[in-house]
Amino acid sequence: VTGCTTGTPGGTGASAGSSDDSTYDVAFIPMVVGAPYFETANTAMQEAAEEIGGINWIYQGPDTADAAKQSEIVQNMITRGVDAIVISAVDGTSVVPVLQQAMDAGIHVYTWDVDTDPDGRENYIGIGSMEDFGAHMVDSLVSQMGESGQYAVITGSLSANLLNERIDAIKAYSAETYPGLDLVSVEGADVDPAKAYTIAQNLLTAYPDLKGIISNSSEAAVGAARAVQQAGKQGQVYVTGISTPNVMKPYIADDSAQIINFWDLEKYAKLAVYVTKDLLDGKTYSEGTVSGYDGYDQLTYSGDVLLFNEFLDFTADNIDEYDY
């Protein structure tokens, strides 16, 4: 695997219309603003931009995770003539046409966290492979409930591609690795913890032998843990999966939820800024220098994809160390 380059050769400050030539205007476009995940990420990114200097980190996204709205924001960024766009795509294909427009306009496009089709961007900075993470989620649950028994998945919006891919990974891995596991149901709760709660309650009722719930979105975990807590089923039903630390602390504390599969979000977010800066500066990566950043020792780099690879599970032991 050879080190790869930025999209444009000699790309120092191809700053299309930025007012101050010495700094890069970089637009970070999350799937949705106002979600704790992206807010936390943005805060960390701003910090990193501050640390590095020379980057004006712009945060602008749709108020609902809507692909068309996200495209419009990309368009606005083209108009503003930023130097680069870092995007977490609502879905991998619908923003591609507009991202291509951006690249045509000389703007560098990188994806962070959620990738698009490769022809929509130059580089992708991601957490790790979906298969690995799905497997990790299943393993976490198995570590609690054991290798056999019924479990269910509660996801967010049914039309969220990222979540759907994760479900596929979960299904594939558990079917292959743990034949004793029985996925009784997949339910969708949108981004509404109250709905997730009701659904979790219903699942507990419908499947009295249910032993585990995997959460596939922050809201789902809260709802599931709350349902287990209310039903007093701690120790009988295990809740693991995606969420963020702060909202889950009370549930981890009273054993209504056990493991939150996550990653060090702040660190992961900062990576995006470091990498963006380097790419904009025209730096070329080779295997050796990928992990050139302090503390990032598990980065892997293949083609135009850079992976963070550090999964982090929050459990009763460590969750109090994180505050977001």
Binding site: A68, T79, P97, N164
Partner: protein, 333 residues
């Protein structure tokens, strides 16, 4: 001129507001007032404007169509799934058209023939249409369209995005239908007083069916433009437009109780919203502040208009004709 003003007070307020916003936003962001961005702006309006045309007509009849967004998703997903199954594009697009017509007919039949309150009827069908699309696509984005399809949402006539012309044509056609045809007249009168409309020999059921089918056809157009622009079909493709369209409609002076207002006002409403979103976005104002601005403008502008009206007529304390309208609706059997 004066007559023109007194006949369309809301529209003129909106034009004024639009101009004012233009100035403010240009000052806030240097990149706003560039030819490129103005075309961009027009392009960003397209889908909402077309949806708003359909919503306007439905709201003028005194109804509402919450399922328009789901229809967009359903049509787009139908076409994409059929293409993925190897259908030729024209056949898939025809099938999408039929699906749209069917969706409109179902809404129209529920509201017009059975007399189900449109709000619940279309909330229900919205779930059902969205659900059907979810079943077809397993909730996934489908990107099976051939590149030839992208002409509908990604092509340009000179520097102008092609769909802008489509939007202009649809707005003109809608305005024409509403103001100059028998159907348009009936649409207004059903909204003003459905009971009297029946007594006047208007085929209310048929007219309402046509209305909901009209809205569905525009949803179809939006589905094509949007899925072509984004090269993808998704269940939730049109969801974001429903509430915005309703806001634009009421902002533009169409009475939610039906019977009054015109589509041009609603489109001006769309323009105002788009300028705010585009301009403030360019000026790097957070979406949430944009939301606050839009909400405030909605209230402030209409409050200003209302107070001005009251000062003008200096009529005190009466609640004109509203009661009469309310009671007439009640007896809609």
């Amino acid at each position: 001129m004066k007559r023109l003003f007194s006949r369309y007070p809301t529209e003129w307020v909106l034009v004024g507001l639009f101009a004012l916003l233009f100035i403010v936003v240009s000052a806030l962001s240097p990149s706003f007032l560039t030819a490129g961005n103005l075309f961009q702006l027009a392009r960003q309006m397209v889908e909402l404007a077309i949806i708003t045309c359909g919503m306007s007509v439905v709201i003028i009849t005194g109804g509402i169509d919450l399922s328009i967004g789901a229809q967009v998703g359903l049509v787009a997903v139908t076409m994409a799934v059929l293409v993925a199954h190897g259908w030729p594009l024209p056949a898939a697009m025809l099938a999408g058209l039929l699906v749209a017509v069917a969706a409109g007919l179902i809404n129209g039949a529920l509201v017009g023939v059975l007399g189900v309150p449109s709000l619940v009827a279309t909330l229900g069908t919205s779930l059902a249409y969205g659900g059907a699309a979810t079943v077809m696509s397993d909730g996934r984005a489908v990107s099976s369209f051939p590149t030839s399809y992208f002409v509908f949402g990604q092509s340009f006539v000179g520097p102008v995005p092609a769909q802008v012309f489509l939007m202009i044509a649809i707005v003109i056609i809608t305005a024409y239908l509403l103001t100059s045809t028998r159907w348009g007249r009936h649409v207004y009168l059903i909204g003003a007083n459905p009971v009297a409309a029946r007594f006047a020999g208007i085929r209310t059921a048929r007219t309402l069916m046509a209305t909901y089918v009209f809205a569905a056809l525009l949803a179809y157009v939006v589905a094509v433009v949007l899925s072509s622009r984004t090269a993808t079909a998704r269940v939730d493709l049109g969801d974001a437009y429903v509430l915005s369209a309703i806001s634009a409609v009421v902002f533009g002076g169409i009475s939610i109780a039906g019977g009054r207002g015109n589509v041009v006002g609603a489109i001006l409403g769309v323009a105002v919203f788009t300028v705010i979103q585009n301009g403030l976005g360019l000026a790097n104002v957070s979406v949430f502040i944009q939301t606050v601005v839009i909400g405030s403008i909605l209230i402030i502008v209409l409050t200003g208009r209302e107070i001005a009206k009251r000062v003008r007529t200096s009529r005190r304390k009466t609640a004109p004709v509203f009661g009469a309208i309310t009671t007439s609706k009640e007896r809609q059997a």
